[in-house]
Symmetry: C2
Subunit: 345 residues, 2 copies
Amino acid sequence: MVTSEQVARLAGVSRATVSRALNGSARVSDEARKRVHAAIATLGYEPDVVAQSLVRQRSNVIAVSLFPEDNSLPLSHLGRTSQYFYLGVLENIERELVARGYDLLLPSSPHGKSPENYIRSLQTRRIAGVIMLHATEARAQALIHSDIPTAFIDRVVQGNHVTYVKSDNLDGARQATEHLLSLGHRHIALLPGQTTDLAGLERLLGSQQALAQAGIAPDSGLIRQCGWEVDEAYEAARTLLAERRDFTAIAAGSDFMAIGILRALTEHGLSVPEDISLVGFDDIDFCQYTAPPLTTVRQDRLAMGRGAVQRLITMIEGDENTSPLILPTQLIVRHSTGPVPRKVD
Amino acid sequence: MVTSEQVARLAGVSRATVSRALNGSARVSDEARKRVHAAIATLGYEPDVVAQSLVRQRSNVIAVSLFPEDNSLPLSHLGRTSQYFYLGVLENIERELVARGYDLLLPSSPHGKSPENYIRSLQTRRIAGVIMLHATEARAQALIHSDIPTAFIDRVVQGNHVTYVKSDNLDGARQATEHLLSLGHRHIALLPGQTTDLAGLERLLGSQQALAQAGIAPDSGLIRQCGWEVDEAYEAARTLLAERRDFTAIAAGSDFMAIGILRALTEHGLSVPEDISLVGFDDIDFCQYTAPPLTTVRQDRLAMGRGAVQRLITMIEGDENTSPLILPTQLIVRHSTGPVPRKVD
DNA sequence: CTCAGTAATGAACACGTGTACATTTCATAA
DNA sequence: TTATGAAATGTACACGTGTTCATTACTGAG
């Protein structure tokens, strides 16, 4: 390991000058600066990140929570399948962090700890900030009340050192529903996902707004609340079909849910989009490969990751109050939606 | 921040005694130990991980490479879709690391750096060890020749401080092919994936072994080499169909490839498994939700993650030569395979 | 009682860096 | 020439921990 001491010796200056030459802030003569950089290049010196973290009282590490916090449960409250969406966000978070000189730590702490211990474990690691993809209520509260800068994804929060990034779920659901309406559908079943999650609730409201605007009376029999998982949507769709409800289209709360619904429809002898139109949400990679390829609402994973990092770093660097970011969504029309079938029976 | 100094003061001992009481090795009187633990509980003390890393000359951080190293490319050489498989492995790596008191860092270093800088950046972070899911040749070589303990996944390596974990791809492909043979198939097309990757090569060889053992002459016209991506497999399958080859089954190198193939078959008016049987590889979550649900070969992601962590930690703790781990694979029969169709034409 | 030996403990240094403060150098104006 | 100030640099301390080495307390044998 080559240290700044060796660099100083070779450059014929003191260690303090080396440090100043690197961190730029203080004034160093051009002469000395040049010699220092030459010595660094010769020796291949890189500062010891650990020692820097100790003396600066802060590391360059950002903790990102991707996995469920309780490892006794195989599923997170948001569902295993949501990880596939968040993986895309994570990848963009990673790129943006690296570009800005930060490291990414997974997970934020040992599982199963109390919120207090969770915060403490972040502190003993000198974590500079946190990005929350999956957060339990307890941890979210703990972070909000701590002074650790945190960016939440898909969760609305308020306070100092805290902000959030989310998609405009309401508008996305509205777009999807309006698309179905424009195809002539009037009886549209809604399976918006877990409405105790904000995302699910907003997707439900967005669809309802579009229906109301089109002058369609709400039919509570066509609204089904269920979890985010494929199987749950599958079961909900089966129930809906068994009840012989009258509908020609379904708006799903996520692509994985749409996949479950698609399966239920197919098993029931219905074809998509000839008999029933189907819209998903998220635009995961997989959508293009279902049969038929899924019409869906795209969430901008790149902007989500970048936006979270950019806002988090702003907070870390001192700007305590950072405005949240609401990202536009975009309807992607593929082949799971079509015109209303003519009534045969 | 509560420090060991405060604990020492409250317990009425010196800081050295506190340290010894925590790290166990040296002898401390029961009396003192008890007072120290009481003080720790009262104050809620947790050791400063950064300071520990500095003095121990080693952190408790394991770097895991999940994402492609060159962020100018949207795809890794192993393909974007392989991330979905490795995400499952990563989750198990994370759990096992946390259970053993280690942290997980993503990524291992800034992108686009030379192998020398890559190693140096690991060293300045005092990284205890590395798990490689996606590795370019240059980085793999750099790690092998460094003294940083490294566990490779799906890559065979030899040397000190280095070991690997992989599935028995050969046997898996053999199982899949034997399954097709047992259903009466004699004309089996092979799309084993990227055969410049070890996994692809082994899957090809496994299938060929099974065919040879059944006394079937190799038909090079039924072997198609292509990349791991859905689209590549889709195109390869289309070409195969356009050539009007005579086959009743396809063994794919991955589930995502199978999805592409399934699409090509469906578009060509063929149904699975009535006309053509199809086997995948990996058993990603998605397999259950294709139409029809995919017969495939399961790789044990839990054992893969655990095995890599367990072997890595063994190396970190001093046992330089650790044997590799070859994991058994398991055929999962769903509904994409069936008996040979009777010849109609 | 004395001496040796051992268990327990504290003082002090080391890890590699950033930075406040003191010191030196040098130019400029009175 | 001398005083003044700014610019550049070096010295020394701090960050929080682990660990060596010296010191103290205590036990048991002679």
